[in-house]
């Protein structure tokens, strides 16, 4: 690159930074948010690629790329073993991590917007437990009771069962915690604990009834892991997750308006009831599908949106896509930690996210006690 061109580019970047700073001081964070989203795209791509390259076995990415583009020496550069490691183990794992992370983070954003509180998270208020109950119900009572369901939905049966479980819990929660358009935070959190305990108890009964094979299935599934990622799981979860993620940008304006209260949102022209229905179904679907393929992975839905609100503000038009990107990226990173820290053994990823997320959550509580209506 010629010297003057580099100089020119540098000056433009400086000018952009100055503009953003000036806009930030006048309360306008729109351009900052757009720049952050671009940076997050780069960060996500870099993490995605490096997660495919890292692992217990050594399989070089450049060789994979050469094999993929069909170089002349294609068959020598990549052994069959490497091909399997990259294409059937690491790639689906990274894809699933991205999908699940995005889905957990966006579910968090939508739920927090809907309940008008930064502490609402599907994992925290029992929606994930409800989804788990749905999934375990299917695994244990399986073919005996739900035979026709399997026949009808095939491998979609598990995500759909989890979705129904999540939906029922979300609706119950909304009914209990919201009166006349006002959501009580204390009721929300306490009702979440109660619903979580209740669905947990039902799940316990089912596990008690389970035979050895089912017990194995339930235990492995419930650990909260991306370890079993494969293309079949992705095929089962991806359509549901992508569909519910695709809806959320259209909720953004409504979620912004509803932060002033449901009445105010209506005054500003939002069809509140319809918007809430769509939001609840999409949260339940995204959470259900994620839980179905990866078990319980906590704290992504609360940490990611909170972190982003500190930087780009709560405008959902930017918060939703930014959360999807950062959620996916952080989950892939957590998965890299999970599978390398005790290599060649693997830690369940739920443990990693809890170790990072729980202290962060406590920090949020200490910092925001006054502003969150607690």
């Amino acid at each position: 690159m010629p010297r003057s061109e580099a100089l020119d580019r540098g000056m433009r970047l400086t000018a952009l930074a100055a503009d953003i700073r000036a806009e930030w001081q006048s309360g306008n964070r729109a351009r900052l948010a757009r720049v952050v989203i671009v940076l997050l795209v780069v960060f996500a791509a870099a993490t995605f690629v490096s997660s495919i390259m890292t692992g217990a076995a050594d399989a070089s990415l450049s060789n994979v790329v050469r094999w993929l583009v069909g170089a002349n020496d294609a068959d020598q550069v990549l052994s069959v073993r490497d091909r399997i490691i990259i294409l059937d183990i690491r790639l689906p794992r990274a894809v699933l991590g991205m999908l699940v992370g995005a889905s957990l983070a966006v579910s968090g954003v939508v739920m927090q917007g809907l309940f008008r509180n930064p502490l609402a998270d599907p994992g925290l208020v029992g929606v994930s437990s409800g989804a788990s109950l749905g999934a375990v119900l299917l695994i244990v009572l399986g073919s005996a009771v739900f035979g026709p369901l399997f026949a009808l939905f095939g491998f979609y049966a598990l995500p759909i069962a989890a979705f129904v479980g999540g939906l029922v819990t979300t609706l119950l929660l909304y009914r209990i915690a919201t009166r006349g358009g006002q959501t009580s935070v204390a009721t929300l959190l306490l009702a979440g604990i109660a619903l979580g305990a209740l669905t947990g108890a039902f799940t316990g009964v089912l596990i008690f009834m389970a035979d050895d094979k089912q017990l194995r299935d339930v235990t492995f599934w419930g650990l909260g892991s991306l370890a079993g990622a494969n293309w079949t799981k992705i095929a089962a979860a991806a359509p549901i997750i992508l569909l519910s993620l695709a809806v959320t940008p259209f909720l953004a304006r409504g979620l912004n308006a509803i932060t002033l209260g449901e009445a105010a949102a209506f005054h500003m022209g939002i069809p509140v009831q319809r918007m809430k229905n769509i939001a609840i179904v999409s949260v339940a679907a995204a959470t259900g599908a994620s839980v179905a393929v990866s078990g319980g992975i906590g704290f992504v839905g609360i940490v990611v949106p909170h972190l982003l609100r500190l930087v780009i503000g709560p405008d959902h038009r930017y918060l939703v896509p930014a959360s999807a990107l950062l959620g996916g990226t952080l989950l892939i990173l957590a998965d890299m930690i999970a599978r390398t820290i005790a290599s060649p053994a693997e830690l369940p990823i739920g443990i990693v996210t809890a170790f990072i997320g729980a202290p962060f959550f406590l920090w949020i509580l200490l910092r925001g006690r006054t502003t969150m209506g607690l």
Binding site: P118, R253, N256, A257, A264, H267, M268, G269, T371
Partner: protein, 263 residues
């Protein structure tokens, strides 16, 4: 014209509004006053479309609220609630621009100007970059009013008058800003719009309202020009408080009337 005819509203199983009828004409500031719990806010909520009537009807510029979609209503009237708590860290500018949810133009510059003008109108010119949660109650109330002004920036649009429904717009403001906001409402009326305001301060009401509606126990007890409504008799009948209108207090006790202010 906003027309309320034979409106009854039931809240939580209890009938709180008993068949009231009223009209609020464009160009006039209509004030609703009355003791706590008499149904002022409920009436305003029914007029805004937030509460469905049990019987009777509300129409705005000749169209029944029932047939209007939320976004259509949002272009005809703006609503200022009593207080608004936000649990996310929005800046003042971001809150005010939420008012553009229904009526934003494609012109970014025009939107920016509408928002800036609205903040200027409520005397919060330099506040755009501040965080809403860090403002005082009175400042938050003015930010919300700016948000409503952003939604209804022109008193008349497409040849139709538009309306501001204000629930105690000056309740937490200092005397100077009470006058600023009431003058703003007046000006909105003079430019062809209509205002319905729930008020507590009877002096300010007497000063700024064209029409006054006095409610008690879900019914209208008196309505008309402030000079007709504010009498010793209605004060006692409605507020249960024997007092004299326009009488001087005993010598030696200071009193301050907004009527004497010059801004």
């Amino acid at each position: 014209m906003i027309t309320v005819s034979n409106l009854s509203v039931r809240l939580g199983g209890r009938q709180v509004i008993h068949g009231i009828s009223l009209e609020a004409a464009p160009g006039a500031l209509t004030a609703i006053v009355g003791p706590n719990g008499c149904g002022k806010t409920t009436t305003l909520k029914a007029i805004s479309g937030e509460l469905p009537p049990e019987s009777g009807s509300v129409s705005i510029n000749g169209r029944n609220l029932k047939g209007l979609k939320p976004w259509e209503l949002a272009l005809k009237r703006g609503v200022l609630p009593q207080s608004t708590v936000i649990s996310f860290p929005f800046t003042v500018r971001e809150v005010v621009r939420l008012g553009l949810t229904a009526g934003a133009t494609a012109d970014a510059k025009a939107n920016d100007r509408i928002a800036a003008d609205a903040l200027e109108a409520v005397d919060l010119g330099g506040f755009a970059g501040r965080f809403y949660q860090e403002l005082s109650g009175g400042e938050q109330q003015r930010v919300q009013l700016a948000r409503v002004l952003c939604q209804i920036s022109n008193p008349v649009a497409d040849g139709e008058p538009r309306y501001l429904l204000l629930d105690e717009p000056v309740s937490s403001l200092d005397i100077r800003h009470q006058l600023t906001i009431m003058q703003l409402a007046r000006r909105f009326c003079e430019q062809g719009g209509g205002v319905i305001a729930v008020m507590h301060d009877l002096n300010l009401t007497a000063m700024f309202a064209d029409r006054m509606i006095m409610m008690k126990a879900g019914m209208i007890r008196a309505s008309g020009a402030p000079s007709d409504v504010l009498t010793d008799e209605t004060m006692e009948a409605v507020f249960g408080c024997r007092m004299q209108v326009s009488a001087m207090p005993a010598a030696g006790v200071p009193f301050v009337l907004p009527q004497t202010a010059t801004l």
